[in-house]
């Protein structure tokens, strides 16, 4: 039998093997040599531009850009490269984008993410990668029982604003039996847990707690269950407060409503209708705070984006101020992550849009919280409604009035903690 002629056949297997090898070669990258000072400072931003939280996320980016435009894209004496990533408002997306920022874009610092459940999802990763993160997201435990040394929070824990809110509700509004309703995610649980703990300390109690999903097109099935109370506490975030307040009014409910930092955000003022009049909120940033930094910030937002800011933008602006101060303290060097974190935690500022702030030894902010009520009085910037500050709580820490050890001894606020009692 004649020998089989050697034919060179191209078939899909060889094509595939060859292209894999080719792709491997093509994707090889050579590490660039590190040159510290002349290199731009790489700022990463994890924000949300899709979904119910997009309202806040878009503002986060605007807040950062306002600061950068004001300083001509310079932070700590270095030029800034901003890498903005849309997480989609969910933990899985946040993980993916965090990996991109750290591994592909090689950022020096991450600002954000927005939501507590997003931060919980990337907590281990940030710690492993030693990536300094200035989170907007609450996620109480990461500065309490499971502290992450690479986290800094200039905004607030989820419960930090709700503690004084409950105090005000019980002592000044004289409402004792409250019905709580908030989205079904970590930020929601922690807000209501804090509200309940503080309310119970002032002699009040929570009648019931409802948890509609983050994406709830129609709140009516939940609103229909609200009854038998002195007042309602809602903790909705993003653009959900708009629809909730509408559904609440549509159901003819008239109990007074109180809320935390997101439920009455200033940026929503232009979209709220009459149903929001009388809403009392407690928040770390308020439009009507008349200090220089705030005026600069608001003017910047109006000029650059023709948008009236709320806390999402305000607090990111503050985050940029903090990074700037820390970077100046290290002489522009962010390569030693631990040294940079120490500098970040040592920052103490007085002229910020939210007023004075400093950090406790867990990296969480100690600052001022403002109680406001929505009305028509004092409205500026073309708005019909306005959040007017009616009380200020200063030097509020994440532990409120409890001693730190006592606070840490109880479990983190969750769906089931504190448990509901007879009310």
């Amino acid at each position: 039998m004649p020998a089989k002629p050697k034919t060179r056949k191209v078939n899909r297997r060889t094509v595939l093997a060859g292209s894999v090898a080719g792709a491997a070669v093509a994707l090889t990258r050579f590490p660039a040599p590190a040159v510290a000072q002349a290199e731009p400072f790489r700022l990463g931003l994890l924000t949300v531009k899709t979904g119910p939280l997009a309202q806040g996320g878009i503002q986060m980016e605007q807040g950062v850009l306002t600061y950068l435009k004001e300083t001509n894209y310079m932070i700590g004496g270095r030029k800034v490269d901003l890498f903005s990533a849309d997480t989609g408002g969910n933990p899985a997306g946040t993980k993916t984008k965090a990996q991109e920022l750290v591994e592909r874009d090689k950022v020096d610092v991450i600002l954000g993410p927005l939501a507590a459940f997003e931060l919980y999802a990337i907590n281990d990763y940030i710690r492993e990668q030693k990536m300094p993160t200035l989170s907007l997201a609450a996620a109480d435990d990461l500065t309490q029982r499971k502290p992450n040394p690479y986290l800094l929070r200039a905004s607030a824990t989820s419960s930090q604003a709700m503690h004084p809110m409950a105090h005000y509700t019980a002592t000044e509004l004289k409402l004792k039996r409250i019905f709580c309703i908030v989205e079904d995610f970590a930020f929601g649980y922690e807000q209501m847990g804090g509200f309940q703990a503080s309310l119970q300390k002032e002699g009040g109690c929570v009648v019931n707690k409802l948890w509609p999903p983050l994406v709830t097109p129609d709140y009516t099935p939940y609103v229909a269950q609200i009854s038998d109370c002195d007042g309602v506490c809602q903790g909705f975030a993003g653009s959900n407060p708009l629809r909730f307040m509408k559904a609440y009014a549509n159901a003819g409910l008239q109990y007074p409503v109180v809320t935390g930092e997101t439920g009455g955000d200033d940026a929503l003022l232009k979209s709220f209708g009459e149903e929001a009049i009388g809403l009392v909120s407690c928040i770390p940033y308020t439009l009507d705070l008349e200090v220089d930094a705030n005026q600069r910030f608001i003017n910047g937002m109006l000029k650059n984006f023709d948008t009236i800011p709320g806390q999402y933008a305000g607090l990111l602006y503050v985050n940029c101020q903090v990074v700037d101060a820390a970077l100046k303290a290290t002489g522009g060097d962010a390569r030693d992550k631990d040294k940079f974190m120490t500098a970040l935690r040592a920052v103490s500022l007085t002229d910020t849009p939210r007023g004075p702030l400093k950090f406790d030894h867990f990296g969480n902010v100690v600052g001022t919280f403002y109680i406001r009520r929505i009305g028509t009085e004092g409205a500026k910037y073309g708005l019909k409604l306005w959040n007017k500050t009616i009380k200020t709580y200063e030097n509020v820490s994440q532990f409120w009035i409890w001693p730190e050890q006592e606070y840490l001894a109880h479990p983190v606020y969750s769906r089931d903690y504190p448990p509901l009692t007879k009310c």
Binding site: R13, L27, R29, E100, F117, A121, N123, P213
Partner: protein
Amino acid sequence: MSIHGRSIAALIAVVALAALPYAIGEVYYVNIASQILLYAIFALGLNILVGYAGLVSLGHAGLFGIAAYVVAYLLVAGHGHVLAIAAALVASLAATAGFAALSLRSTGITFIMITLALGEIIWGLAYRWISLTNGDNGITVPARPAPFGIALGNARAFYLATLIVFIVAIVASGIFVRSPFGAALRGTRDQPRRMNALGYHVWMIRFWAFMFSGLLSAIAGVLFVYYNQFISPQALALTASAEGLLMVISGGAGTLLGPVVGAALVVIVKNVVSAYVERWNFMLGAIFVAIVVFMPEGLVPGMVRLTRSIWRGKAKADPTLPMAAGRRQ
């Protein structure tokens, strides 16, 4: 191509794939490669049903997700990796049997709808049964396993472990497909009535194919949850099942390499292209529509056909492939 040639090509591919993480400098791209491999396993599993049994499922993300959730849940509860993985596979297989029992009463469009509904049920439970699954907050897996002392927390090590699983999966699929059972399965796809008349138990054949498909999806789910060290209901949504289908159809249903190419396509568009093109979902959809309309047999057979036609003149679509077969009607 001769067996000899085929084995050499396969060996070259394996070596190239194994060398990949050392050739690529950056962890980010090694991670992308790991993702491609684990999704390829998912697509291979889905392809057993779609390509070889002719049954299109829009619920496979549910089976994928059950395995992932069981691993996460057991690990957080303090159990070991071996137990977690074993339990995940068992749970997922049980669910697969349930899916099969309910959906195999029908074929065609009805089959698609039942599997869609079943997938949605699993998603709905993951999303709202908060006390079990933590809902939207998801479950974080504390650490990847370290078999034989090799920490899989390292990206390269994880890639190699995934590669080994992938090779086993594709070899198993190859054996399955080339076996008499595989031939019988293709028979039930093309001529179910005749197969019945010949004495083959069509339902049982489809059932076992479904189970094998579910096993591969479960394995992919386990790899997924270890890769991400996180699971949330998003991974089980209808979109996830749809993306799996995209991978299979775009690569080439009814071929072994099609799903692999399809998985690479989707993962690369999602991750790498998204850096340059913000709207990658649109691209994915457009590519999919283009493939279904112009190259229904999928990329792999389509490219082969194109290259053949360039070398030897006009070639026809392979009529034994399910999508192309549709054209004859």
